[in-house]
């Protein structure tokens, strides 16, 4: 437990001092919103289109952050240090997933208001509490799966190239669940029916892949 906290704290401290990943992710997200504005030629979004734009953007921004977190660690020899320390390997997974979760929440704290400002007419703030639940569950899944796949990808020759193509198909259920849960919340007028079911799907995904990652992670960190 202390090891997890220490590693996560280290990552967050590095991020606070260098301000490398989260600002880049946020900037990427905002730029992507602008791109979507031109690509779709729409001033205002609602319902499924809004949900789609939001989640695609968040997912791609997340990939940027996940890659950074692991490639930087590898480049600076952090993995070797952690492997030499007398701690459980799995704490690395949990710490990285925790740090990623913080990254993602920080990203969304910036990206969501901008999204609302750009695309949403009104009634956004009423949806926020429920939206927060959707986002948290989706973030959890992204963080766990992202941490696991990134620790695979970072040890290959292709490194950061491999992560997106591994991660995107595996996170399709997250996008399905999150987008479907977000769609009624961003509809005009606001709806809440059907959100619960999708929250359950997201929670199930988090649970299954959380356990799976926990089970296999030891094997990724052996030498």
């Amino acid at each position: 437990m202390r090891a997890i906290a220490a590693i996560a704290r280290k990552d967050l401290l590095v991020e606070l001092r260098t301000k490398e990943s989260v600002p880049a992710m946020a900037l990427f997200a905002v730029t992507t919103f602008v791109i979507f504005h031109f690509g779709l030629d729409r001033d205002r979004l609602e319902g499924e289109l809004a949900a789609g734009v939001l989640w695609v953007t968040l997912l791609f921004a997340a990939i940027l952050g996940i890659n950074r977190l692991f490639v930087a660690e590898r480049e600076q020899g952090g993995f070797d240090g952690i492997l030499m320390a007398p701690i459980e390997r799995t704490s690395l997974l949990l710490a990285k997933a925790g740090a990623l979760l913080v990254y993602l929440v920080a990203l969304e704290l910036i990206a969501l208001p901008v999204f609302a400002l750009f695309f949403i007419e009104e009634g956004f703030w009423e949806a926020v509490p429920r939206l927060a639940a959707v986002i948290l569950l989706a973030d959890l899944g992204l963080a766990v799966v992202g941490a696991m796949l990134a620790s695979i990808a970072v040890h290959t020759r292709a490194r950061d190239l491999l992560l997106p193509i591994l991660l995107l198909p595996l996170t399709v259920p997250v996008v399905i669940g999150a987008a479907a849960a977000t769609k009624p919340l961003l509809s005009v007028p606001l709806e809440t029916s059907g959100v619960g079911k999708w929250l359950a799907v997201l929670a199930l995904y988090d649970l299954v892949f959380g356990l799976l990652a926990y089970a296999v992670f030891d094997f990724l960190m052996e030498d």
Binding site: T156, V172, F209, L212
Partner: protein
């Protein structure tokens, strides 16, 4: 053998579908291919678990070949599926059929197995990572099908009961024979590929042995003939 029977049954025994006619017969290729490929993927995951448990490279090889054949079958599934869709729905691809979409996602995921596998040099690490991938992806197959099905069933609940439920007897028999034939074909191909991989590996090992023996004893060394030849 079984496959031949299946083909014969498909063409001579099973009745033509009432509203789809002859084209419906692609069903006997398409559906068994898909089922076998998916089972193969899940089996590859189980083999991945076996590899991580026993550290036996043969399990990794099996898992790899199972995925490899699954992907090849997957290409067949997508191709026959597209032909069928074109014939019966008038489009090469439709998005509102959950099975199609889930299969495509699974297929895309498994295609990434190759870049993953070939970009790790250390053989032990490669085997381990490939196994982890096989396990993760194997667990992903059912989850993905659930999620996609849920997503689509909001609009198209009818597909939920579209399974083999109401097939007439002759069709079902043909289908089952075709399924069994396809499964055997898959197993045979996996076996074949494994044997050839093993043979190639053996050959490389023997050749290396030969070279090593050649070097110290110079030209025309005698012990060449004593290298144990393993029949494959």
């Amino acid at each position: 053998m079984l496959l031949t029977t299946a083909i014969a049954l498909v063409f001579f025994y099973a009745p033509n579908d009432a509203d789809q006619g002859f084209v419906q017969k692609i069903f006997y290729v398409h559906v068994p291919l898909a089922i076998v490929a998916l089972i193969g993927f899940v089996a590859a995951g189980v083999m991945g678990v076996m590899h991580l448990r026993t550290r036996d490279d043969r399990w990794d090889q099996r898992s790899y070949v199972a995925i490899h054949m699954g992907v090849i079958f997957g290409v067949g599934v997508l191709a026959t599926g597209a032909i069928w869709a074109r014939a019966s729905w008038g489009k090469w691809w439709v998005w509102d059929e959950p099975t199609l979409v889930s299969f495509l996602i699974v297929f895309l995921l498994y295609v990434t197995y190759y870049p993953l596998r070939y970009s790790i040099e250390d053989p032990q690490r490669r085997a381990r990572y490939a196994s982890v991938f096989a396990i993760t992806a194997g667990a992903f197959v059912p989850i993905n099908f659930i999620a996609v099905r849920l997503a689509e069933s909001l609009v198209h609940p009818r597909v939920l009961n579209q399974t083999a439920g109401d097939m007439p007897g002759e069709m079902r028999l043909t289908f089952l024979v075709a399924l069994a034939g396809m499964a055997l074909l898959y197993i045979a191909l996996v076996k074949l590929e494994l044997t050839s991989k093993h043979a190639r590996y053996e050959l490389r090992r023997l050749r290396r042995l030969l070279e090593e023996e050649d070097r110290p004893s110079g030209a025309a060394a005698q012990p060449i003939a004593t290298v144990p030849a393993k029949p494959n």
